[in-house]
């Protein structure tokens, strides 16, 4: 049953060295505070799963925490490349990393199959695409009814998934709205799920019944971390900090600058610092 825990405890209880872990969020509701807590606790040999690895995986890879990444787009959208991830892939710094690359369709279908308890996902994909030649986990199956050859990929079943969401009620049910991305599938595909939320409300009685809700028994732990997805955003709470995404490009370009930034903004901070980071963005949301 779900527990309300301080983030430090929620991460310590649910993440282990060597785990496969998804910190999901498709541009929206990225669980930055949870990722930073994982960095502070210094986990090693993680398999990092995410459609759009983005800044938090650039940070974890740069800190040497990942042995493998499974992904479909390893960029800083609209800005450019993820420079710590590149340094790892191109130069083996700070350690070399195994990569398993898919398309968005491949990853989305694989999460959905994981949530559905299926061993693999079947879809019309990768036709003529080079990924099928370099990723042995992209195979094909023939439709038994039509004879059409379709792509098949193994389902994604993380040991643990972290997401950020807008609200939990007092019982621990969680509500997600706006760009809902892959959050629901990533939670239901995982063995354990940890959710950081902007706030806890008494109940969801006055909300529309079709909003995306993860029932409390699908979640291991909830931590209240206002601003916990900065520099990503929380629809209805605060806007995306696009300037921070632009700045990251410069910080991550230099190994020394990156380390200094991590010490000042992650290692030396706590989950409580996130609320202040989004104060000026709340006005714009």
């Amino acid at each position: 049953m779900v527990k309300f825990l301080p983030l430090k405890k929620a991460v310590a209880e649910n993440l282990n060295n060597g785990d496969s872990v998804a910190f999901e969020g498709f541009t929206h509701l990225i669980p930055t505070a949870a990722a930073h807590e994982a960095i502070r606790q210094g986990f090693r040999d993680l398999t990092l799963i995410r459609m759009t690895p983005d800044l938090i995986y650039d940070q974890m890879i740069g800190m040497g925490m990942a042995k493998k990444i499974i992904f479909s787009y390893i960029g800083n959208p609209g800005v450019g490349l993820l420079r710590r991830a590149r340094d790892s892939i191109e130069n083996g710094f700070p350690r070399s990393i195994e990569i398993e690359e898919h398309s968005h369709a491949g990853m989305a279908n694989a999460y959905e199959a994981g949530a559905a308890g299926l061993p693999c996902a079947v879809f019309r994909g990768y036709r003529g695409a080079g990924l099928a030649n370099v990723n042995p986990n992209i195979k094909s199956v023939t439709c038994p009814f039509t004879g059409e050859v379709l792509a098949a990929v193994p389902s994604i079943r993380p040991d643990v998934t972290f997401i950020h969401a807008q609200k939990a009620d007092r019982k621990g049910n969680v509500l997600v709205e706006g760009i809902i991305g892959i959050q629901k599938e990533a939670v239901l595909a995982a063995r354990r799920a940890v959710v950081t939320v902007e706030e806890v409300v008494d109940n969801f009685d006055d909300l529309h019944p079709n909003l995306t809700v993860l029932p409390r028994w699908t979640i291991a732990a909830i931590s209240v971390v206002p601003g916990g997805s900065h520099p990503s955003y929380a629809h209805g709470y605060y806007a995306r900090d696009n300037a921070a995404y632009l700045e990251w490009d410069e910080i991550a370009a230099d190994r020394g600058k990156f380390q200094a930034w991590m010490q000042a903004n992650v290692i030396g901070k706590s989950a409580g610092d996130f609320a202040a980071r989004v104060e000026h963005l709340r006005k714009a949301a």
Partner: protein, 264 residues
Amino acid sequence: MSERGFTPNEMMTIAASRALKNDDVCFVGIGAPSAACNVARLTHAPDITLIYESGTIGTAPDVLPLSIGDGELSETAVTTVAVPEMFRYWLQGGRISIGFLGAAQLDKFGNINTTVIGDYFHPKTRLPGGGGAPEIATSSKEIYITMAQTRRGMVEKIDFFTSFGHGEGGDHRKRLGIETAGPTLLITDLAIWKPDPVTKEFTVVSLHPGVTRQQVQETCGWVVRFAEALDETPAPSDLELNTLRDLQARTKAAHEGTGKAKAA
């Protein structure tokens, strides 16, 4: 800025926007495609349906998004759906008329590389990768491509097939069981290109104002074919140019964090 009053990049974006129709359902990539699609929406195609892969359907952003998931895309959309639904029902389901893509490397058959420069396992440069593009390229009814011409970008042989265009040309798509049309239009900062009906090689059909054949060839890594009847692309109108510039000014201010705060 040239003495003509517009830049090659502005000409490219505006020429691309003109190719879009009011009833198109367009899967939009970030960058020049996003600018072109929104200029079309703000000028001649007000009812165009713009879809970003984050799940926003029928979005109408006031500023160009930095990412495919900026909040404004969801706030102004007709509806927002989960990512698996986006790729399963809407893209694979065959409901997208135009997939609009950019490229790091492109060959003359419209094959696109945004994955690596050099060998995949020992890359010289690791690029972001395909994201939604591998399936956008095969499931959208048609593909439009836009990119600025350089010899590094437009190459005889791409290093990696991120998205399949016409493969080796001819009926290569059909032979792989792909039923959609693939790349039907390439718009660069110098010219408009269309595939030859038989060989599928991109052929220049229109030069932008003031551009010479020689300039097109010098900035392209393969031997360029020109159509017999070569058009000149009409210069941007004041409306088109002002719409694009206003959009970009709003975008720049917003992304630097100095944009107008929306009414609280």
